[in-house]
């Protein structure tokens, strides 16, 4: 796959496949859909973070015979949501382990009667002492999960860090913290479920991974695979927040459908979605770093602790990615990473764009600036002198066999942002200005796709068929939720086969129709699933040439005519391909050594920030992002992904705070959970470099999560540049800046007039 290979459709800004429906308001999201005879469902949730359920009372003033009521006793199969572990109950049984945990489900034809009834159920608890922070969990005084509160731990070792400290010219320590972050997709979670004895369970809804939901429902309902059907409807944003949570909501809606004998729709309102569903794992990461006199890294000792919440969900894989991204894009002969995911009695955390990498990269990229300040070195040059290059090995001893162009990315980022000139200008201007400006950078990679042998385990199957009305139909379980799945896969199919983009449609992700091509996560869709579509397209053309007299060159008409000839012969026109692992992928899951990821995307980001010393507010004034992503399949979609990820990263750094009160999200309204508006996002400049990855579709690597990794450290590094103060915790709100910028002068003392 040569970089100069010309393509007609891939690499061009074709219009979004489902775009017309979206701009016309015709796209149908789950709450736009009604099923005949549909009832509505509601959830009664715990109000304490931990306790034994003593009683559940149904107030007499309600006529309960009108309602379908579901408790744990109604679950036909297993009371758990199958993810990695099976520790999360579908409904609380004898005990609740977090606020807003589902205890009772209700269904009724009237949404209003439902609300009254939900308020009329009184649950009495014998409270148990909750564990609400990483520190409390680590103490292991109160055990709330397993034997020891420890959901997962990893140890990654390279070289020998302990032999280095005594010899090093510099040893610098730091501690960095990140808070919970809410996805804030504008479409709340929602499902419609139907149940019948003959067909089993069918659910429609807003979700990322139909086969994850499918697998969970099998266990809850004790049904065979062909008796559970999951269909994704148009999804209004996800960001990981609809990767695991929908399995719980689907089970709830389906249980109510079973109990009531009616289709049941459950749509969360914003208050419920904010309070009860997953968020990004909070983290505490400690660094101890040894360098020589010239600033070359000698050893990194890293300790990662994440808060997993009350149940494991995806904490182990988030921890894994955090571990593998914790040492940054640098060469370091000795590295030790000890990472632990701790259970607490807070709402379980889950997947969120970046999946442990934003936390880890915040820590290392802030730490590099702290090191630079401590040893008197330019943070740009400190990075450059330690960058990975071709042939270097990472902390897992993975050899960089594909080109690493960090120097080039850095140079471009510095040039486009006029970094040094701005830095010098701000240093001068800040002396006379109550608004202090600064500029900061972050350099990082994001591993594309699943870690190690994850893809082999997924064993994805994907492909194409041809409909009788003359369309090639993409058959994947991968979902569109704004990031461009439909468009990209259609582009790949059309390009590979040699037909028009308009000749390709995407099958609705329906587990009874599409093969399991794996989840839509981990920035794997373009790279891995796209490659399967590419192969399936080639395979289809070859079959048509062999059996249906398709020529070497052909028009769309000739292609579809050949398809019909083939169909007459073989009964159907289908081409499926199964995942084939690239050769030489060696990964040791125990030692955490080897090829952690098949490919890496690389980026350098620069943030210009203004800190107003009157209000202590920090605002990003301008942002630059340079990234190497393999192949840009669609420049409009790719640019949009980078810009959107940066906006979310800015929110993560400066605006988005989850306020916990005794384990409940107290600011569970959009008026109090703050994301940046159109007036707050800065101008964002995006530059792509492309080094095609030979195993990715048309050279593509993953792109969706990369842009969210860098903004937080770049911004806080800029704030350090602006104020001279290093902030090590996000979200960094004006109240936090004020607390630390706690003035040399007392509050009564005015500035000199």
């Amino acid at each position: 796959m040569s970089p100069s290979e010309k393509t007609r459709i891939v690499g061009t800004p074709v219009l979004r496949k489902e775009g017309v429906d979206k701009v016309m308001g015709r796209a149908r999201y789950i709450d736009d859909i009604e099923h005949e005879g549909m009832w509505h469902g509601a959830t009664v949730r715990s109000t304490i973070p931990r306790g034994v359920i003593r009683s559940v009372d149904f107030d007499e003033r309600i006529d309960w015979s009108e309602f379908a009521i579901v408790t744990v006793a109604d679950i036909p199969g297993k009371n758990h949501i199958q993810l990695i572990f099976a520790d999360q109950p579908c409904l609380a049984d004898k005990q609740v382990n977090h606020c807003d945990e589902a205890v009772v489900l209700l269904a009724h034809p009237s949404k209003q009667r439902l609300r009254e009834a939900a308020d009329a159920i009184h649950i009495e608890y014998d409270p148990l002492p909750p564990v609400l922070t990483i520190e409390e969990s680590e103490l292991q005084d109160v055990i709330v999960w397993g034997e020891d509160n420890l959901i997962k731990s990893f140890l990654l070792e390279k070289g020998n860090v302990d032999a280095v400290w005594a010899l090093a010219a510099h040893v610098i320590e730091g501690e960095y913290r990140t808070g919970a972050q809410e996805h804030l997709y504008i479409e709340n979670n929602g499902m419609i479920a139907e149940w019948s004895a003959e067909s089993g369970v069918t659910v429609w809804g807003s979700l990322q991974c139909p086969f994850y939901v499918h697998k969970s429902l099998l266990a809850v309902f004790n049904l065979p695979e062909d008796k559970v059907r999951v269909i994704q409807t148009e999804t209004g944003g996800a960001f990981g927040g609809k990767e695991d949570y929908p399995s719980t909501l689907a089970a709830h809606a389906a249980l109510l459908a079973m109990k009531s004998g009616h289709p049941v729709k459950m749509i969360y309102d914003r208050m419920e979605d904010l309070a009860a569903t997953t968020k990004r794992h909070p983290s505490r990461i400690r660094h101890r770093t040894a360098l020589d006199l010239t600033g070359k890294l000698l050893a990194m000792d890293i300790e990662i602790a994440t808060d997993g919440g009350a149940y494991a969900t995806l904490s182990s894989t988030v921890l894994s990615r955090a571990t593998l991204h914790s040492s940054g894009p640098y060469v370091c002969p000795s590295v030790r990473v000890r990472s632990r995911a701790w259970a607490t009695n807070t709402v379980p955390y889950g997947a969120f764009r970046g999946f442990g990498a934003p936390q880890a990269i915040f820590a290392i990229e802030r730490h590099v600036d702290e090191i630079a300040a401590a040893i008197g070195m330019d943070p740009v040059e400190l990075r450059r002198s330690n960058f990975l290059h071709d042939g270097d090995t990472t902390a897992t001893e993975q050899v960089m066999r594909d080109p690493v162009i960090l120097d080039g990315l850095l140079d471009k980022a510095l040039r486009e942002s006029d970094y040094y000139a701005r830095r010098a200008r701000f240093a001068k201007e800040n002396l006379h200005n109550s608004v202090k400006r600064g500029i900061g950078i972050a350099a990082f990679y994001h591993g594309s796709g699943f870690t190690g042998s994850g893809e082999r385990y997924l064993n994805s199957l994907a492909g194409l068929d041809v409909t009788r009305d003359g369309k090639v139909r993409v058959l994947v379980a991968n979902t569109e939720f704004g990031q461009g799945t439909n468009t990209i896969l259609a582009q790949i199919a059309a390009e590979t086969i040699g037909i028009d983009y308009a000749d390709v449609v995407i099958a609705q992700p329906d587990t009874s129709i599409v093969p399991n091509s794996g989840p839509t996560v981990a920035s794997r869709t373009s790279m891995v699933v796209g490659r399967l579509i590419e192969r399936a397209g080639k395979q289809l053309v070859e079959s048509l040439r062999e059996y249906a007299e398709l020529g070497n060159e052909f028009t769309s008409e000739e292609f579809f005519a050949a398809c019909e000839r083939y169909r007459a012969m073989k009964g159907e026109v289908v081409s499926l391909c199964r995942y084939e692992a690239p050769p030489n992928i060696y990964w040791d899951d125990q030692q955490y050594r080897g090829e952690a990821y098949p490919a890496f995307a690389w980026s350098v980001q620069v943030a210009q920030v203004a800190v107003d010393t009157v209000t202590y507010s920090a605002e990003v004034e301008e942002f630059w992002s340079v990234q190497e992503v393999g192949r840009v399949l669609n420049p409009v979609l790719a640019g949009g992904q980078i810009e959107g990820g940066i906006a979310q990263g800015i929110g993560y750094a400066l605006y988005e705070k989850v306020v916990w009160q005794n384990g409940h999200m107290a600011n569970n309204q959009m008026t109090n959970y703050i994301m940046p508006t159109a007036e707050d996002v800065p101008p964002i400049h995006v530059y792509f470099e492309e080094i095609p990855f030979q195993h990715g579709a048309f050279g593509a690597k993953g792109i969706g999560e990369l842009p969210h990794d860098g903004p937080a450290p770049a911004i806080l590094n800029a704030i350090r540049d602006a104020t001279g103060v290093g902030f090590c915790s996000i979200p960094l709100l004006p109240e936090d800046i004020f607390a630390k910028l706690q003035l040399e002068r007392s509050v009564e003392e005015p500035a000199t007039v």
Partner: protein, 170 residues
Amino acid sequence: MSASGTTIRITVNGENREVRVPPMKRLLDVLREDLHLTGTKEGCGEGECGSCSVRMNGELVNSCLVPVLQADGASIQTVEGLAQNGSLHSLQEAFLKCGGAQCGICTPGMLMAAAQLLDRNARPSLAEIREGLAGNLCRCTGFVRIFESVMLAATTQIAEVQSESATHAR
């Protein structure tokens, strides 16, 4: 004057409609449930996200905050009313071309706010576009391509007006 049903007459996208609903039912719910116009969305129910934005008597409003009685006699435009005679509005074309819609859930409200902006100000500056859209939250795009879409639509509309004038002038 019963709480369970008052006759409300509204014009929606040029069509006269009549419903019998509780006066405190939200305009948003009347549009979606009684009139089956599901283009307008509910994202928050608090007037914060703007995904329920519609135009009422020429003003942009959050329909989740309008009790339908206060819309009695009003003329409402929703996203379904933007395209005319099967042709997309220049804003819709621009959103498609520039990538202004990703997941699409904020798009109807965003288009309403953008249409309102351009009707009031045919040549908005970037700052004016930001202000005009500040009440519409988008979690996917970072707004960049939404701004580009609005600017492209503004340019297109101005060109159309100029070409119409030129035609008339001949």
